[in-house]
Symmetry: C2
């Protein structure tokens, strides 16, 4: 395995370029998508698929989904170089969801540039995002891999399970976002994280287990590690937003009171609404429901959250999840090197830029 | 098999309601999506998934993809009632693509009502459309079906192949639509139809062959029938738009010169640009490239198309495709009843409202 995780990025990008070359030609289309009934238009597909994907990839991203996949593969005693192609599956899926999510959220920026639907037209961006949901799944077809049938079927079943739950999570998140009132419970919030963020992490872990032929209990254990880690980091993100806004943490480039302004139903907010005195809780709900907020109102909301002890509560939850995640791996007997890399991965993810 | 094709619609809708009930509850979620890690929010998922899907289904649509699937199943000597669940796969996929396409095309209307992103918010509509890409694919997982493994894997491979090409077709169409000049060849246009419309029809036919265990040559033959039929009807649609605008055909509820106004690169337009005298061709290209057109300009464009013999040319192409489609079935020895239904299906599709 390469010395540091970051060293994998060029190799991962090379593997992605094998699947979606920067320059599309008819040969690639015939080989990857199959013979045309009539005649492909490589120029159109260049602009519809390759240009949006590489615009997004070239802006950055740490490819940590691909790297975590490779860490697991090595931990299972296999050569990561031989499984590089499959590492692209969760990575490309992730980039597809980014493009689609940005349309759904009407995001203006992504990885330091305008969101893709502002660079390309919205129709091109959306279709590219959706195309990236199916493109990596083609890698598991007979013409693309020599994996045995049972592993290919297991991978498809796993992907269908996780990708369905991903859309449940996104659906819940969008619905709550569109509602003024906060009616969601802590457990429902955690479920949303488990589905929306956790399922893609589960795909990383389960795919590594499936393509290398691990037994079910190993697959379940790494899936749990990945899911709980993803939820912990989602909560960590929400804590950082509050702490940055209160001037307590370093500047992570986030705007002041972003989550409050968006009326986001975070674990901190849910806790503060439950634990604050009635008047304060009502005031916090008002600020969250308002269409616009002054900086003073943002500060007021942040103070209510702080006074309710919600930052400590959320931090405890995140730490507990991280500990549970590590505990999920306890029976697996990974080598020391893999253990070190899984710790390194944790740091890596904390410093992520997406 | 039920007496007329239309009689299948209630049965198909009932089968769809088994997959996505009109009223979502926790039991359904646990059964279909698997146990929650924490706790689902059935209300949120009701609004994010069931409401958009049933809003669209209740407005109409003939469910012809499901019905054609059942016709094939019966033609293969199996009981269609037993395969109703799988008939929902192409039908739900189709409804998912409708929702997403309407966002991409910024459509205002669908099946007599506002497009779904105008009824629900765009984020809800889009996520619902995407969720419907994966929901039906879950029917092929072990917990949902007792189909043997080889058929389930064959179905997944087939779906990944066809759904990838669907997005290629949509990508080409969008790209051409965003370009002012018409540079696309007839063969590229036909390829776009084969990918965008043909692949979903191929899914209908191939899935029927796969779940009933037909040999490869049968699957290939019905796929070709479905693909060519879909292309023929796409061209038929484009002819109708021109004929309606010229007052030659009945009113199909289409606006005057719709396709010209949108600058759509149809087979008729491609032919007219190639076959018209240079001055006329230049004028047609100008009108197509303009941001807005007067009714006189639309009429001028329609006349150039008519004078170039493009209507006859397109009709010949469509008839040839339809004949080729029927010829693809020649070796299959379907019973007379199935032959009658496949003819009936052709009429059914011509009268389609979507």
């Amino acid at each position: 395995m390469r010395e540091t995780l970051a060293e994998w990025r060029p190799a991962v990008d090379e593997a992605i370029a094998d699947l979606v070359p920067r320059e599309i030609d008819a040969d690639y289309l015939e080989t990857f998508y199959g013979e045309a009934t009539y005649e492909y238009d490589p120029d159109g597909i260049q602009r519809a698929l390759a240009d949006p994907l590489w615009e997004l990839l070239d802006r950055g991203g740490k490819r940590w989904r691909a790297v975590l996949f490779l860490v697991f593969v090595e931990g299972f005693g296999e050569d990561p170089e031989e499984f590089l192609r499959y590492a692209c599956i969760p990575e490309i899926l992730h980039n597809g969801t980014i493009i689609v999510d940005d349309v759904e959220d009407e995001a203006s920026m992504r990885r330091g540039g305008p969101a893709l639907h502002h660079v390309f037209s919205q129709d091109v961006a959306l279709n590219a995002g959706n195309a990236l949901y199916f493109l990596p799944l083609k890698l598991l077809t007979a013409g693309q891999t020599d994996l045995p049938d049972d592993r290919r079927l297991a991978a498809y079943e796993m992907l269908m399970h996780e990708l369905n739950r991903t859309h449940l999570g996104q659906g819940m998140d969008i619905c709550w976002h569109n509602e003024r009132d906060v009616r969601v419970t802590s457990d429902q919030f955690l479920e949303m994280c488990a589905c929306k963020t956790g399922c893609l992490a589960r795909i990383v872990a389960r795919l590594a287990a499936i393509v290398t032929g691990q037994p079910e209990n190993v697959e379940a254990a790494v899936a749990e590690y990945a899911e709980l880690t993803a939820i912990a980091f989602q909560i960590g993100d929400d804590i950082l937003d509050v702490e940055n806004s209160l001037g307590r943490a370093g500047d992570f480039g986030k705007s002041f009171g972003n989550d409050i302004r968006e009326g986001k139903k975070t674990l901190l907010v849910i806790h503060a609404l439950e634990e604050s005195p009635p008047e304060k809780a009502t005031r916090l709900a008002e600020i969250l429901a308002a269409d616009g907020n002054t900086d003073d109102e943002i500060l007021e909301a942040l103070s209510i959250i702080e006074e309710a002890g919600s930052i400590e509560y959320a931090r405890e939850q995140a730490l507990e999840l991280a500990a549970d995640a590590r505990a999920a791996l306890d029976g697996l007997e990974f080598d020391d090197e893999t253990d070190r890399k899984l710790r390194e991965f944790t740091e890596f993810v904390i410093e992520r830029d997406v």
